[in-house]
């Protein structure tokens, strides 16, 4: 069996960045396995602009962002296998994969990077009752048809969910000539970026109906109409608010789920909030030498941070292979406290070396203005960072200085609270 220093599962932005970072840190014999026919993950179909402001300091489209990494990858001797599906990874880091050319392949990785990304929630996940006609697609599937494969999914479109993919697809369908009837959002606020709400909906007079959902689907062969209803603050349908909207296409943008079947098969536990596995500051899972990065670990809103996270994993894997890491005597737990739903990483396990800080990613429960991100050990405040505004749809990050982390601290709690003693969510 061929043994690689590193096997990366998934050639999206996370997988490519992790492989490149390991290579830059002197690691040879790297294999990247990808199930699609091209690399770059979801980026090639995200033809809109808005990528790269954090990472490259300039605004790029999805394919352009991917190209920067793909170009670099092609200049290396990193092996890439496309149209190859990984079936299993075991605890000994043996990977079983399958493709049409080689049949069943078995290789071993001294380190493994899990970079499988995430997938969209479906109609079945959110249980909309009614008929089962054609014309009901996830927004991302419609995006692939429209932007890569050259099919127009339909003419009269309703979109459920106001996440960024839903908003982007509302504009895309409109630009391609479809009649986009409305975007429906069950929450009282849009979960997408303000910019996307303005440039994708307002620019084209597409209505955004907040606190609305779909209660019924009708159509025999093809979708004919959907029943739209208003909901109250507990998400119960308000009786009498139902109305039928004629459409032949329903796009769903109702959330993303990290794709962790392989992770689960390795007996790695999944975090109840992120849907990804548990990791330390190196993005190392509970199996030594196995790392997770990108949307398989927690769903990001910016690809820029996927790249950054994957580089942390890639560099750490290189240090592991070069025997450059020392475990701390006691590990430090990082726990979410007030208004924080989760943090990544969930623990710190290694000596800091020359690292000046550890970047903590987190999400907040509700929109709050004028806040402080507080890191605490018991009642003692370690460090605070002010932020003008935090939103559930936008990941919050803070750099925890390593100089302030002391050996006796076994748990550090992270909270986000209003500056002058928190009152409520909105002023």
């Amino acid at each position: 069996m061929k043994v690689y220093n590193m096997v990366v599962i998934g050639a999206g932005p996370a997988g490519i960045a992790a492989a490149l970072e390991a290579k830059k840190n002197g690691i040879d014999d790297i294999l990247v396995v990808e199930r699609d026919e091209y690399i770059g993950g979801i980026l090639p179909q995200c033809i809109h602009n808005g990528f790269g402001l954090e990472y490259f300091g300039q605004e790029l489209t999805g394919p352009e962002y991917a190209f920067e990494f793909i170009k670099e990858l092609k200049e290396t001797d990193i092996e890439v296998l496309t149209e190859t599906m990984v079936l299993d990874v075991d605890k000994n880091k043996v990977i079983t994969a399958l493709n049409r050319k080689d049949g069943v392949i078995r290789v071993k990785g001294k380190t493994i990077i899990l970079a499988m990304g995430c997938r969209e929630r479906t109609r079945e996940n959110i249980k909309i009752p009614g008929d089962r006609p054609s014309g009901i697609l996830s927004a991302g599937t419609a995006q692939r048809y429209t932007n890569i494969e050259g099919y127009m999914p339909g003419e009269k479109v309703v979109i459920l969910g106001s996440g960024d993919i839903g908003l982007i697809m509302a504009r895309r369908m409109k630009l391609e000539g479809a009649d986009v009837k409305a975007v429906l959002e069950i929450m009282p606020f849009s979960s997408g970026l303000v910019r996307n709400k303005v440039q994708c909906l307002d620019d084209f007079d597409i209505p955004l109906k907040l606190q609305h959902t779909i209660t019924r689907i009708e159509g025999k062969e093809r979708l004919k109409r959907v029943q739209v209803a208003q909901v109250d603050k507990d998400f119960n349908v308000i009786k009498g608010s139902e109305e039928w909207v004629n459409c032949d296409t329903l796009l769903l943008s109702v959330g993303l789920i990290p794709e962790n079947e392989l992770t689960k098969a390795m007996d790695l536990k999944l975090h109840p909030v992120t849907g990804g596995t548990f990791v330390n500051e190196n993005r190392e899972t509970n199996i030594e030498g196995v790392y997770a990065a990108g949307n398989v670990l927690h769903v990001h809103d910016l690809v820029d941070w996927v790249s950054e996270e994957a580089e942390i994993a890639g560099e750490a894997a290189a240090n592991y292979l070069n025997d450059n890491l020392t475990k701390r005597k006691t590990k430090i737990k990082i726990s979410p406290d007030r208004n924080v739903t989760y943090t990544v990483p969930q623990k710190i396990e290694y000596e800091f070396g020359d690292k000046n800080f550890i970047k903590i990613f987190m999400r907040v429960t509700k929109p709050i203005e004028n806040v402080k991100v507080n890191f605490k050990y018991k009642d003692e405040n370690i460090v605070s960072f002010p932020k003008k505004i935090v939103m559930p749809g936008e990941m919050v990050t803070a750099n925890l200085p390593t100089a302030l982390i002391k050996d006796h601290m076994k748990e550090i709690k992270v909270s986000i609270v209003k500056k002058e003693g928190e009152t409520n969510g909105k002023k």
């Binding site: 090639p44 033809i47 809109h48 602009n49 605004e59 489209t61 999805g62 394919p63 352009e64 991917a66 190209f67 429209t146 932007n147 890569i148 494969e149 050259g150 630009l175 391609e176 970026l193 303000v194 910019r195 709400k197 303005v198 440039q199 307002d202 620019d203 929109p367 203005e369 003008k388 505004i389 939103m391 749809g393 936008e394």
Partner: protein
């Protein structure tokens, strides 16, 4: 006096800025909470522009479409007109990222450029 409501896209706050206009002159701006908001509202009132990302059909390509964009933002009012011109265009593979596929669209001085490499289909 004419009032224009503009939502600032500078940050997640999304301030609703009101631009009051008299005889085509801005006389008052309200509702912004930082300089970004004020500047955005003025630009957005005077000349709202957008980058237009879309696709162009490709003959004999590994994929049937190449993603493209306007190399610079163009006036918002021209987006649909630009789409109608782009819809009629077809190019031949191979296409290289950055290639100018349509020059000076609608006399804006802005080119439509490819944002991905599209190779020839194997065996063509």
């Amino acid at each position: 006096m004419e009032k224009n409501d503009i939502i600032c896209t500078g940050c997640p706050k999304g301030c609703r800025v009101t631009v009051e206009v008299e005889n085509e002159e801005i006389v008052n701006i309200e509702g912004y909470e930082c300089p970004t908001g004020k500047k955005y509202a003025i630009d957005e009132y005077k000349n709202p522009t957008r980058i237009l990302p879309t696709t162009i059909r490709v003959k004999n390509g590994e994929f049937p479409l190449v993603p493209v964009k306007t190399a610079e933002p163009i006036p918002k009012a021209l987006l649909i007109k630009a789409m109608n011109i782009i819809a009629k265009k077809e190019v031949k593979a191979p296409v290289k990222i950055g290639d100018v596929l349509i020059q000076d669209i609608l006399n804006t001085g802005v080119n439509i450029v490819a944002t991905r490499n599209i190779d020839k289909k194997a065996g063509v």
